[in-house]
Amino acid sequence: MDDVAAWFLALYKATGIKLTIFYDGYDRGRFVEGLITTVKLSAYCLAGSLVLGALVAMLQGARTAAVRRAASAFVELFRNTPPLVQLYFFYFALGPLLPRAGGAPLLGSFGWAVISLTLLETAFAAEIYRAGIEAVPREMVEAAASLGFSRPQIYRQVVLPLALRATLPAMTNNLVNLVKTTTLAYAIAVPELVYMSAQIWSEQVNVPEMMVVLLVCYVAMVGAINQFMQWLEARLRVPGFGQ
């Protein structure tokens, strides 16, 4: 670690390329904290949207027409309005309505970012789930029924395993987009990667270097997600289905 720091310090002295995050402990701490916040934000939103998305997808197939329409309206609303405006709406318009707990707001910018991005991702996840369930051939369901499976059994043992596999490619895209969308939280001062980098570059005046570091970080994160999901897809593949 010391060698790396010394090397980057020498690089700065020799060429003027100022990568403070590698040799300045304070900057490195901030940068790592930003990275952790980004990962945390993505993880919370992912978990929330997977659960809520399944719920909304279920509501979209409900028996009552009103429930179905409400669920569809929710999906269309979040998909056809700018995510940034949604974020501002939650943070600036709904935020002040919350009661304050002992001086501090009940929900900080991080909390609102989680809520806003989760709802956005829920809208996308719901569509993906619905498509996945519709993608299971009807003949499979009929075949299972003719073999004496009950409805819950058909869902649990035939439809869902196939549907979840069918959703994986779309889910990969969704996850990549989620990570990219967390950068919006910068706008409401969530201390995530972009925010921390902006603080570093405005203090150290090393904008180009930090920009490159930022881009490399995001591309690396997205690449890792892609690799993992491809591995998962290959791992879960059912021979002869969907190919």
């Binding site: 329409r69 409400a70 569809s72 309206a73 269309e76 609303l77 998909r79 056809n80 309005t81 700018p82 995510p83 940034l84 405006v85 949604q86 501002y88 709406f89 600036f92 318009a93 002040p96 996308f124 569509e127 993906i128 498509a131 996945g132 519709e134 993608a135 299971v136 051939p137 009807r138 003949e139 499979m140 369901v141 069918a166 959703t167 490619p169 779309a170 895209n173 969704n174 990549v176 987009n177 990570v179 990219k180 969308t181 950068t183 919006l184 910068y186 706008a187 972009v194 902006a198 904008v207 180009p208 920009m211 930022l214 881009l215 995001y218 591309v219 997205v222 690449g223 969907g242 190919q243």
Partner: protein, 297 residues
């Protein structure tokens, strides 16, 4: 059985990342068999959602109206008062989206030609470019362009100013470029290779084959995802407010600061949301219709 329109999953892939990659295409087509028909009933949702948003908007005004002190202006009056300013901001957003789309499409086409070039070095380089700009967050690209491009150019003795909104447009055009390149590549590759061979046996050059035979067939396949990207881009133009361009979000923030009234917040934000929804939703529906129509043959 008649060919089914592309499954919603395919649609989402396109919505979010542009054209389908080969892998997605393969995965989605055989799976769209058990699809439920979604025809006339779907049209209801458009009005319903718009109505729901309008209800939120009107209700928030009504609530604010009741709570207003008699002496001060009502929220509705304030909204009417600021509507012209908001409209100019919104038009500015649309302007940015038009320019970004034009620049992105033109450069995306060039990139796609490089991508499908038989020369390995060219197609490899353009693959890296495409992957990079597709996978980098829009906001980071925007920052990149904003900070790294100069605010004016000097050509000899003439100084050409380079205002921030043009830089924002270029920044937004970059991801569009990469995604348009993917759309074009996907469409070109979806044309059977037999057509290339046939054209070659009729002594067409590569360029002639591409321009006169392949691309005209691709237009139909490219149009729906291209429109999707336009809708996404329009929504993304609000990002320009973060880097200091005075578009509709910046103006909204300024208005709320100037008025300093908490009861104005929900109405004004849902007002802006409603505008974007009214602009983007028809595009989205139209895209789905085109997709369904072209998918049938």
């Amino acid at each position: 059985m008649r060919a089914t329109p592309p499954s919603p999953a395919a649609l989402i892939c396109q919505m979010r990342r542009g054209g389908l990659s080969q892998r997605e295409r393969r995965q989605n087509q055989p799976l769209s068999l058990g699809k439920r028909g979604r025809g006339e009933g779907a049209a209801l949702f458009s009005t319903r959602t718009g109505v729901a948003l309008a209800i939120v908007f009107v209700a928030s005004i009504a609530v604010a109206q009741i709570r207003t002190q008699p002496a001060s202006a009502s929220v509705l009056e304030l909204l009417v008062k600021w509507t012209p300013l908001l409209a100019t901001g919104f038009l500015f957003n649309l302007l940015i989206s038009f320019f970004a789309m034009v620049v992105g499409t033109a450069s995306g086409l060039l990139l796609a030609f490089a991508r499908i070039s038989p020369r390995r070095s060219l197609s490899g380089t353009s693959w890296i470019v495409v992957q990079f700009f597709r996978n980098a967050p829009w906001l980071v690209l925007l920052f990149f362009v904003m900070y790294l491009l100069p605010f004016q150019f000097r050509l000899g003795s003439v100084t050409i100013p380079f205002p921030d909104w043009i830089k924002a447009t270029l920044g937004l055009a970059l991801p569009i470029m990469a995604n348009v390149a993917e759309i074009v590549r996907g469409a070109v590759q979806s044309i059977p290779t037999a057509q290339w061979d046939a054209a070659r046996s009729l002594a067409f050059s590569r360029r002639q084959t591409l321009w006169k035979i392949i691309l005209p067939q691709c237009v139909k396949r490219m149009l729906p995802p291209w429109m999707n990207w336009y809708a996404i881009l329009t929504m993304a133009t609000t990002l320009a407010s973060i880097v200091g361009v005075s578009e509709v979000m910046t103006i909204t923030l300024r208005i709320t600061n100037a008025e300093g009234r908490t009861d104005l917040l929900i109405p004004i934000y849902s007002y802006v949301l409603l505008w974007f929804f009214l602009y983007c939703y028809p595009i989205s529906r139209w895209t789905r219709r085109l997709e369904a129509r072209y998918g049938q043959r």
